[in-house]
């Protein structure tokens, strides 16, 4: 933080900068066109802040999304990053191509519950299986906001649609449980109303060397914020039950507070960053896969809403890029000398076919 200098004329406070000497506005996007009060806008703000605080160069990041109100938000943060607002449901597949073409790019994907859990469900699961290194944010409002409030596949059973007539009888899809099932090594749930937790989770996800899935309950003010909805602001606010208090210390910052090992668990990340999890009501171990799945299963039955780092595998499998055994340089910019085999190769093949 800036400090006052002991001169007689007071100088204006220098604006805060991150480790790249960039200010927060460098991480902002165009003004949002979503409904005032939409949960998605809150997440947008935290994403910008998380990248700013993490000191990521905007140009080194690509923002991907599908179609939906949620997917539109990639225009509302990080204008200095390339953005790709693609087609409905295919963003996760596109991400695999993007990372393959330039392994140095950092990736964030923003999707909705419709985009991820319905039309793009297969791509989501397969991209998790492949372990594409990216931050994958599902802005989960239980409805299709953009097409005016139809139930999505994450709507809870018994939840009531706006108007009070339609009741959802179908079983909900839990993207967190499925991500764990598909081998994801970083799975979190949060709430747009809990910005403090969300920011820390996002920063931890940015540092995670594999696919990080964040399912963020993000109320649709216009179509799913009524009595009888389990994704309304009121319901989520009342029901949110954090598993722990989460903190994140990036690798380039020292750990400032002493932690009490009895209360706080520290997770060391490969890049030197640290996640701190401070115990709240009960002790929760995010490294316990079965425990995490069990928690989610119980949450579903008992209609609970736990948030925090639900699952974290301290020794994740190889990322997609690592599995592919590719050269260190981005494929996108390889010169012809590395991508066209020599004349002798063609001659040898011709000989084998003669």
């Amino acid at each position: 933080m800036a400090t006052a200098t002991p001169t007689s004329t007071p100088t204006p406070q220098a604006p805060a900068v991150n480790r790249l000497n960039r200010q927060l506005p460098d991480y902002k996007g165009l003004p949002s066109t979503l409904c005032a009060g939409c949960g998605h806008d809150v997440i947008t703000g935290q994403i910008a802040r998380a990248y700013w605080e993490s000191g990521v160069e905007p140009w080194s990041l690509a923002k991907l999304s599908g179609i939906g109100c949620s997917s539109k938000t990639t225009a509302y943060f990080l204008s200095k990053s390339h953005g790709f607002n693609a087609v409905h449901g295919r963003m996760a597949a596109i991400a695999a191509g993007v990372t393959a073409a330039n392994r140095r790019l950092a990736l964030i994907g923003v999707s909705g519950d419709g985009d991820t859990a319905s039309i793009g469900f297969s791509h989501f699961l397969h991209t998790v299986r492949r372990n594409v290194r990216m931050v994958y944010v599902i802005e989960n409002n239980g409805v299709y906001g953009l097409t005016k409030g139809q139930f999505s596949a994450t709507a809870d059973r018994g939840s009531v649609r706006k108007g009070g007539v339609d009741v959802n009888e179908s079983y909900p899809i839990d993207c967190c449980a499925l991500a764990i099932e598909m081998g994801c090594s970083f799975v979190a749930r949060s709430f747009s109303g809990d910005t403090k937790q969300l920011l820390q989770l996002l920063k931890a996800a940015i540092a995670h060397p594999g696919m990080a899935v964040l399912d963020v309950v993000s109320p649709c003010i216009t179509f799913n914020n009524h009595e009888g909805s389990t994704k309304s602001y009121k319901f989520a606010k009342a029901q949110e039950d954090p598993l722990h208090e989460i903190g994140f210390v990036p690798h380039f910052e020292p750990m400032l507070v002493d932690v009490d090992p009895g209360k706080t668990k520290v997770i060391d990340l490969p890049d030197g960053g640290k996640i701190t999890l401070t115990k709240l009501a009960t002790d929760y171990d995010p490294a316990n896969r079965a425990g995490a799945l069990n928690l989610l299963a119980q949450d579903k039955i008992e209609r609970r809403f736990h948030t925090g780092l639900i699952y974290h595998n301290p020794s994740p499998s190889l990322s997609f890029i690592e599995q592919m055994g590719m050269v260190d340089e981005p494929l996108a910019t390889l010169p012809q000398s590395s991508t066209r085999p020599g004349r002798e190769v063609l001659e040898q093949v011709m000989e084998s076919l003669s």
Partner: protein, 609 residues
């Protein structure tokens, strides 16, 4: 082993009857998965090694063992090696299909009939050689017998038609190059067949093969293999695919070539990435993602996959992202016939996706062209920043073709209009969709470019020159008009059609694998009907202005296509409506490759009307 034993002279040594030399079609009916493919390829290669031009068509049910398979080899001293119906020599090995097979033979055809099947013979207008193929190989290990019995017919037919034993030997060693022991056993069995024939048969048919010098320097290759090689030399860095007949062998060959020849010399690491996607939506999604970032990205598929790729094809067109799709066409509609050929995706591919969308199509006629075009696809996709198709088909993709050798590409790769950080420094501004040069092709930056001006927002929705969202009618129309302008630039710059002009008022237009049959048909029309024709072969879409001129300068033009609905003709009618009334169709859509006779009949029938 018996390889050193003396070989009896072939039937030609003592045959004195009428002869037909170097002009025949052999068809072999076997059951799938019995090793017959190897025997048939040996037969083909033996003829090839005698310097006689040869073509082959494999008609197979699916890759499941036990179903009937027909392999047709056409040897022709004048080089006419397109499909020809009604074989001259038929080898009946398969009980399941034998009844139909024998009924279909033309009168006077030669039949080599496996003794076990002789009960099925109900005709007396064929020249029959009954051959106890199973008996010939009875002392071979029982486990191998089913496989090598096929090599016995190679020996018998070799003796009968005067295929040189050395050529057969060499072909077997080529076929089993990696398996010396298997090669030995096969050589033995071919010789057993030969020896049996020499001892027991007396030639009573006219067909003979004699050495020529017309295959020197040539190769035998499947089109899918050629395409894969083209993509490899074209600098492919990304492949995403989902298996589908008849395209799978193209992706698999590509992966093989890339794995072998595209490793970094210093580190041994791959200079490519190949992914088997979850489906075709995923495959084209990955390709467009990779193309957006600057990889040279492609996918291979067939009709059903094309249908699934439709939405993202439109995204590639509209957001102007380079992408390459190889469509190895098979019979549709719907699942259709996965193992039969067709040119049935032309219209669909050209306009693939919703709204006003058009794509570039390359249409190779043979493996050499598949290689050459394949090696340029990424250049074209990156140059015009759009989706490019290569339209091959099952006939080209999965059949073995005699081909000229492929030549090393000498062109420098074209990465299109890409601005680097240094360019941005110099220019001080960047507008993604601004037509700076007036050719409709704009400048792009690649994600990851180290510059604060580099970023832009890619979307399939309405966009301004600066890539911001717009719903303004004028913005929308300006962009659509610019895309149309870009397409006209493409039309001017794509390879012109190939033409053979004689001054005749009758024109013929064809594309892709119809070329060989059409060439032969024109020869037959001249010979049998005294009808000269002009010929134009379309190599790419959008169609060159020469097509328009050709259509308007002929009294009538026959467009030959392997589909039911005259799809290319429909494209011409849309783009050159002034000539629509002078255009007629010759259509072939049985699933078999097109043959010259069908083309001749199609034209003669309409000329006489």
């Amino acid at each position: 082993m018996g390889t050193a034993t003396e070989i009896a002279p072939s039937a030609a040594a003592t045959y004195t009857g009428e002869t037909i030399v170097n002009d025949l079609v052999i068809e072999v009916a076997t059951s799938n998965g019995t090793g017959s493919q190897s025997a048939n390829l040996v037969l083909m290669r033996s003829i090839f090694r005698m310097g006689v031009p040869v073509g082959a068509k494999n008609l197979f049910p699916s890759n499941i063992q036990g179903l009937p398979t027909w392999f047709t080899i056409r040897a022709n001293g004048d080089g006419w090696i397109a499909k020809r119906v009604a074989p001259d020599v038929f080898i009946a090995m398969n009980e399941e299909s034998v009844e139909d097979d024998l009924a279909k033979l033309r009168p006077g055809a030669v039949l080599l009939l496996r003794t076990a099947l002789k009960g099925f013979l109900k005709r007396n207008d064929l020249i029959v050689y009954e051959c106890p193929f199973d008996e010939m190989v009875k002392d071979v290990d029982v486990k191998l017998r089913k496989m090598v019995v096929n090599m016995a017919y190679v020996g018998v037919v070799g003796w009968l038609l005067n295929i040189e034993m050395e050529a057969i030997d060499a072909a077997i060693h080529k076929q089993f190059a990696a398996k010396a022991k298997a090669a030995e056993i096969n050589v033995v069995c071919a010789r057993k067949g030969w020896a049996w024939a020499a001892e027991h048969l007396r030639k009573k048919d006219p067909f003979l093969l004699r050495r020529l010098d017309k295959t020197k320097g040539k190769i035998i290759v499947e089109g899918n293999n050629a395409t894969a090689l083209g993509l490899t030399f074209g600098g492919c860095t990304f492949l995403a695919w989902y298996p589908i007949t008849p395209s799978s062998t193209c992706a698999e060959a590509l992966i093989d070539y890339l794995s072998e020849h595209r490793k970094d010399a210093a580190t041994g690491k791959a200079t490519f990435c190949a992914v088997q996607a979850e489906d075709e939506l995923g495959a084209i999604g990955m390709v467009v993602g990779a193309g957006w970032v600057g990889a040279r990205a492609c996918t291979t598929t067939s009709g059903p996959g094309i249908s699934l790729m439709s939405e993202i094809a439109g995204l590639s067109y509209f957001a102007e992202i380079p992408a390459v799709i190889v469509d190895v066409q098979r019979m549709g509609p719907s699942t259709g016939l996965p193992t039969r050929t067709c040119q049935g995706d032309m219209l669909k591919a050209y306009y693939l996706s919703h709204g006003d969308t058009k794509h570039i199509l390359f249409i190779p006629k043979n493996p050499k062209e598949a290689f050459e075009m394949g090696s340029r696809l990424f250049d074209v996709a990156e140059h015009y920043q759009t989706l490019v198709f290569m339209m091959t088909d099952l006939d080209l993709g999965m059949n073995y073709w005699m081909s000229d050798r492929f030549e090393m590409p000498t062109h420098r790769e074209d990465r299109g209009k890409v601005l680097t950080a240094a360019d941005l420094d110099r220019l001080g501004q960047f507008a993604r969709y601004k037509d700076v040069d007036g050719d409709g092709i704009c400048y792009r930056t690649l994600p990851g470019t180290d510059h604060d001006l580099a970023a832009y927002f890619t979307r399939g929705t309405g966009h301004t020159e600066r890539a911001t969202y717009t719903e303004k009618p004028a913005d929308w129309q300006r962009n659509m008009d610019r895309l149309a302008r870009k397409f006209e630039t493409v039309r001017r710059e794509l390879p012109p059609p190939e033409e053979d002009l004689t001054g005749s008022p009758v024109g013929v237009i064809a594309y892709g694998t119809s070329d060989e049959a059409v060439a032969e048909a024109r020869h037959l029309l001249r010979l049998e009907e005294g009808l000269e024709t002009d010929y134009l072969r379309v190599l790419a879409l959008p169609a060159h202005v020469r097509v328009k001129e050709f259509l308007s300068s002929h009294r009538v033009t026959y467009v030959v296509e392997q589909n039911r609905d005259a799809q290319m003709r429909a494209i011409f009618a849309a783009e050159f409506p002034e000539s629509a009334s002078r255009v007629r169709s010759v259509l072939h859509y049985s699933g078999d490759p097109i043959d010259a006779r069908s083309v001749v009949e199609g034209i003669v029938k309409q000329e006489k009307r």
